[in-house]
Each structure stands twice: as C-alpha cells, then as structure tokens.
Amino acid sequence: MTLSRRQLETLHKMLSLTKSQELTCDECQRNMAEFAETALAGDSIPENLQAIELHLASCGDCEEEFRTLLKALESDEH
C-alpha cells in the first residue's frame, strides 16, 4: 500500500480535525437545515451547531450535500 502526496495531505487534514466525539452523518443531516439557515444569515454559529461545522469539514458526502443545499436556498425565492 502506498498513498499519493495528495492523499497524505488529505489524511493529515483529517487527523488534525479528528476529535474523540464526532457527529455521525445522520446527526449532521438532522441539523443541516438549521445550520444552513444560520450560515446564510451570516450569523455566528451557536455552540450547539459547532459540531456540524466539524463534521462537514471531515465528511465529503455531507459537505457536498451542504454546499448544494446552500445553492438551492440561494436560488430559492420562498
């Protein structure tokens, strides 16, 4: 097994973000709507949502979905 330099850089980023307790994807999903509205409003992230921020930095699937949710909300007129 070998890793490319890019993968090692990614692994370093992942390790630097690793905490003993992290939200799972399902927990992130349950809070994503509230987190997105807070982010779009430009408000500071309250303590109870900070774990979402950490999960999004660590999980490519959730981060991709969050970015897409923001795009949908930005284009939404509701």
């Binding site: 097994m1 070998t2 890793l3 692994l11 709507a33 509230e34 699937d61 979905e65 795009k71 007129e77």
Partner: protein
C-alpha cells in the same frame, strides 16, 4: 416559486390525508423540483426525469419523517435538505456503479511511491520517510481490515455512501468506522513520538 405556508401548516396538511394533503404534496413537489434544478443543472447525468425521481423519493421520505421535523428551520429548508440527499444517493450510485471497492483500494496511491519533497534537505528527507513508513505501518498493522479498506477508499475519493453499499453497511456506520480508524492512527502516531505538527511539516500541504 413562493410558497406561503407556515411550518405548522405544512406538517398539519401533509399529515391530514384527503384533499389538504394532496394539495400540500403538489405544492411541495413543485417547490422541490424548482429548488433542485439550479444546483444540479450542470451535473452530468441529471435531467428532468432524474429530478422527478429524486423529488418523488424525497416526498416519500418527508412524509415518513414528519414526526422528526422539530421546527428549528423552515419546513421547506428541511425538505430541500432531504431532497438533496436523495438526489446525491442516486447520483453517486450511478457515477460509481462500475467501480469495485477492491480496485479502488488496490489503486489507492496510484502507481508510484510518494514523491519525496525535492526542497527538503537530506536530514528532513530521512525524517519524512520515517514518518511515512510509520504511518503505513500503523495503517497496515494497527487498523482492522474493514477500517483500512474504508479509510483507503475514502482517501481515494469514493463517497462513504458507496463504500457502505459495497461493504454491506451504510454511510453512517462507515463514518463511525473511519472515525475510529482516524482516532487510532492519531493515537498511535503520538505514541510513536510524532505530533500533528510533525505530520504537518512532512506533508501538510
């Protein structure tokens, strides 16, 4: 598309059955179709039929999860978040359908060994190599096969959802698996005398 309906009204109408539910479903279907269109319009393999299917799937999930909506956001934002996840579930399945987990893991690092940073002096080069060797040793010997496979696939860009599908598991469990792998790797590196600063210096980008 403007939908003038309160959170309570959405939940009440969608739960009601009959004409009120039909009207709410029609409104929500139209709203979600429109909401998904822009972020997915440039995505390969996404057409009207795809958005219809993703919306339909999302409506089913929204209906079965109404009791989980806690009102901490607008109902429509919550519904879009479900629709986005439904769309990505299908999109990832299509994009990765011909890729096996074995191939991804076997080709994890590409054909060549890591290129040693040419700007490093001889001593730093030796230190970098020692750290990388230790990292490989921990990954190979300290992680379970499942942890190693999931971590390597994740580092290769395979979505957790697709890793889960191939391992007979699900995305949530794979996240927990790779989280445990990361924690073990971090602890084992620290126990070997390496700090994250050392790792940063070696290949922090």
């Amino acid at each position: 598309m403007r939908v003038n309906r309160s959170n309570d009204s959405w939940v009440q109408d969608l739960s009601s059955g009959g004409a009120a539910q039909d009207k709410a479903l029609t409104d929500l279907r139209g709203f979600l179709m429109l909401a998904l269109r822009k972020p997915f319009q440039d995505s390969s393999g996404v057409d009207h039929a795809f958005l219809e299917d993703a919306t339909q799937e999302a409506l089913v999930k929204v209906l079965s999860s109404l009791d989980k909506f806690e009102g901490r956001s607008r109902f429509t934002t919550w519904a879009i978040s479900i629709a986005v996840r439904s769309a990505f579930t299908e999109l990832r399945k299509r994009r990765w359908k011909d890729v096996s987990l074995t191939d991804v893991i076997e080709n994890a690092g590409g054909a060549s060994q890591i290129d040693v940073d040419s700007t490093l002096g001889p001593e730093q080069e030796v230190q970098q190599k020692a750290l990388i060797d230790k990292m490989y040793e921990i990954i190979n010997s300290g992680l379970t096969k499942k942890q190693r496979d999931a971590l390597l696939a994740e580092l290769s860009g395979m979505p957790l959802e697709e890793i889960g599908r191939r391992m007979g598991s699900n995305r949530n469990a794979i996240y927990k698996l790779t989280h445990d792998a990361r924690k073990h790797l971090k602890r084992a590196l620290e126990a070997s005398g390496y700090t994250l600063t050392d790792v940063q210096a070696a290949f922090g980008g």
